[in-house]
């Protein structure tokens, strides 16, 4: 049987109303869900919906008459397997249509789509994609995850109970399902009679249906439960990140009941649920925004070409130090299980590569404790170490608990800036005046201006002298000296 409906993927539209359920045969394309604009023209942009929409776009393309996956009915022994396609068909289609180069990647994406329930293997509870002749079927949009299903255990109980009433061997409960049923029977002992009645009613309606239709529906229903009550050990793809879940849980959209056992509060389709009103900004907030944009407009920007060159040269300069690009010497401890590399870094004797790095810029010297030590030693030999010591003291101040700050500020002032200070530093008068003001109400940033001035001084003066110094050059050439006093 190859009918047009089957070719386009027969979607059987399910509706339910309490103890009765009937179905309406409808060839729907993926329009009847919450991803398309509602009556206000607004789409649900929450992170989960974004992903569902993308998967559904792919599914729509897979079902395209011309360029999609060919769906067919397969003859098997005495019966027919309706509306199926093979795992390899899916993999091939993904490789061709989504610019995927690698079969492994195609398999991975396909498995994810199966795990979310968009298509499923017709003879397996485990929702995974295999690149072979295994048969798969599309899920009906009614059961798509974008409909925000949160089916209750009572529904699951009805489903499992219904399954036990069917005679087909292929519909026998799997072990984990039998266990679940037993558990649910204990949990719902009181209302089991009601559940049994529901199951009977459903089974009755099922029996009346056309055999082929029934096969398709049964498999789709089973796949739905495979997503929401996965095989133990399988990933439950309905789990959400708690940080995002509050935005998803729109009570008007969440569907809780599959078989109409409870009052489904939804009286209208999720596509017509109005989006919550966005908070309007206040006048004050708008004034702030305007000030912000004006400040941004005044910013000095660099041309992209300059920026690109800068990024390239930074990366180039450090590529030798990047263990992912250049194997560390002697080896990467994680790969070789040999920690020599770390031991060398920890030693006080800096290796050549490390010393070379200090030459990249003053920040590299200041970042490396051994670099700082050598820089300080060099400046002491020149009797000009007070700048660096001041800079280090201010850095240290910022790391102190707030309680200790006022005392420390006083100490630094006395040592470096007060008149007659033992390690007097030279700052410009503007910074000096500002600092004098700041220390009256001492905070962690009391010396910020002075520190910036000193940093600039060190960068342009002391640092370049250090790099040109014989002490540094000797370290760079790894000349071994017995005596420690090089200066």
């Amino acid at each position: 049987m190859y009918d047009k409906g089957a070719a386009r993927g027969v979607y059987i539209h399910w509706s339910s109303c309490f103890a009765e359920f009937w179905l309406v045969l409808e060839c729907t394309m993926a329009k009847n869900n919450s991803l398309h604009p509602n009556s206000n023209g607004e789409t649900d942009d929450s992170p989960n919906m974004l992903v569902y929409r993308k998967m559904e776009d792919v599914i729509a393309r897979m079902q395209d008459e011309k360029n999609g996956i060919p769906i067919r009915t397969v003859k098997s022994f005495l019966s027919k397997i309706p509306s199926v396609f093979s795992g390899s068909d899916i993999v091939q289609w993904l490789l061709k249509n989504l610019c995927i180069e690698d079969q492994v990647e195609a398999l991975h994406l396909g498995t994810l789509m199966a795990a979310h329930g968009y298509f499923f293997p017709i003879s397996d509870h485990v929702l995974t994609l295999k690149d072979d002749g295994t048969f798969y079927r599309f899920q009906t949009p009614y059961f798509w995850p974008s409909n925000c299903w949160e089916p209750e255990n009572t529904d699951y109980a009805v489903y499992l109970c219904k399954r036990t009433m069917q005679n087909k061997a292929r519909l026998e409960l799997a072990d984990y399902e039998a266990e679940s049923l037993a558990r649910l029977q204990r949990a719902f002992a009181r209302k089991w009679e009601f559940i049994f009645m529901q199951a009977e009613a459903q089974a009755k309606v099922d029996k009346k249906r056309d055999k082929i239709e029934r096969k398709i529906l049964d498999s789709q229903e089973r796949a739905f439960w495979d997503v929401h009550r996965p095989v133990p050990g399988c990933v439950n793809t309905t789990e959400v990140d708690i940080k995002k879940s509050s935005r998803m849980k729109n009570p008007q959209k969440t569907r809780k009941s599959v078989y109409g056992l409870q009052n489904d509060i939804r009286s209208h389709s999720p596509t017509h649920t109005p989006a919550p009103e966005a908070k309007q900004p206040t006048e004050e907030e708008l004034q702030e925004q305007i000030k912000f944009w004006q400040a941004q407009l005044d910013r000095h920007r660099l041309k992209m070409s300059k920026v690109a060159e800068s990024l390239l040269s930074y990366t180039e300069q450090y590529s030798d130090y990047d263990p992912f690009l250049c194997t560390p010497d002697p080896s990467n401890p994680w790969i070789s299980d040999d920690t020599t590399f770390w031991e060398m870094e920890a030693s006080k004797e800096p290796g050549q590569t490390r010393v070379r790095r200090w030459g990249f810029g003053i920040n590299e010297v200041l970042k490396d404790p051994v670099g700082r030590e050598q820089f300080l030693k060099f400046l002491e030999s020149e009797f000009s170490s007070e700048n660096l010591r001041f800079w280090l003291a201010v850095q240290e101040l910022k790391k102190r608990p707030i309680r200790e700050v006022p005392t420390r500020v006083q100490e630094i002032w006395e040592e470096f800036l007060a008149s007659g200070a033992p390690s007097a530093i030279n700052v410009d008068s503007k910074s000096y005046d500002k600092t004098t003001q700041n220390i009256k109400d001492p905070g962690r940033y009391a010396f910020q201006d002075a520190q910036e001035h000193i940093y600039k001084l060190m960068k342009s003066d002391s640092y370049s002298r250090f790099i040109r110094s014989s002490a540094y050059q000797e370290l760079l050439q790894a000349k071994k000296k017995k005596s420690k006093n090089l200066f």
Binding site: P47, L50, V51, K54, L94, L98, C99, I100, E105, H108, L109, L112, V235, K243, K244, E283, L286, Q289, I290, F292, W293, Q294, Q296, L297, R301, L302, M304, S305, K306, V307, A308, E309, S310, L311, L312, Y314, T315, E316, Y318, Y321, D322, P323, F324, L325, P328, P333, W334, T339, W342, E345, N363, K367, K398, K399, R400, P401, I402, R403, Y445, Y455
Partner: protein, 395 residues
Amino acid sequence: MCDQTFLAITFGPCDNCSQNKPLMNIYLKNEPINYCSLCVELMACQGLAKGETTNTLKAESESLKAKLEEERAKLHDVELHQVAEKIEALGQFVMKTRRTLKGHGNKVLCMDWCRDKRRIVSSSQDGKVIVWDAYTTNKEHAVTMPCTWVMACAYAPSGCAVACGGLDNKCSVYPLSLDKNENLAAKKKSVAMHTNYLSSCSFTNSDMQILTSSGDGTCALWDVESGQLLQSFHGHSADVLSLHLAPSETGNTFVSGGCDKKANVWDMRSGQNVQSFETHESDINSVKYYPSGDAFATGSDDATCRLYDLRADREVAIYSRDSIIFGASSVDFSLSGRLLFAGYNDYSINVWDVLKGTRVAILFGHENRVSTVRVSPDGTAFCSGSWDNTLRIWA
């Protein structure tokens, strides 16, 4: 003689100006009020003026924003990947899982490296925080938090303490004792208090200060010893999901990303938002500075990662593929900034060439979402944490 209809008017004190005048009975927000006609007119004009003011302000704000985009675009003379054509392409990478850390009973949500380059701290949904020597895979400490979903954890620079928090809206610091038998939970210190979940935390260069971001839309800087709030950062209009401190010896800035799709750069001293970028189409889950501090990368639920440069003041690269449809949860740079490691909700890790914009590798191994990715302090490896309850070290 024609019919005349007389309007019955009440006469009395106006609710607004208190003068005795003929009153008009009107309804304001379903409440009946009695205003004199003058006050009614004034109110109507004010309302109109206010509406006009808000609308004019909105229009002004929007036109300034558009102008800013124009200015930013003017300096866009070339694409990063075009300039990067002249550098050599990267060779084939052999990146494998070198260690697998098993021990969490539930989803791993966050991890951080110790400065000793081998120890890590990790936190999970079941409230457990574990300190491991990742090199030997031994667990060294374990703490059970009183809340579930511990979404943030950080190692102190000294290596002597860890900070963590999550649904408890707090950030707590636990000093790590060498005595294995000591109950760590007893020494716990509550530092930060937010009004919604704690999404991320980081020590500044000292054990004494912690920077936090929260679902309440703010970031905050705290003094650890006293628990005092040193500075708060307001500007996001939705949950802040991630933050990263600028890797500078001299600077005082950090970047944050949130559910409002914005990435904001902040001055820690003044609390001001100094730069803002909004080009993502969904939540920004992760932000990380490029090692020079001149740029930063973001990972978002829109399935893309992007690079923003602070000097160019714009987005300079997008890392995406048609086949990647799940969100990026976490990103980090290799030491030189040439590689960007990104963990995704499709259980994989993609490695991007930052300059050329191409993907150089895709790493499979995790059996559920990758929630966190962090490169070690010396760049020799990176660690990934996942909802499959494990952490993996890759090199």
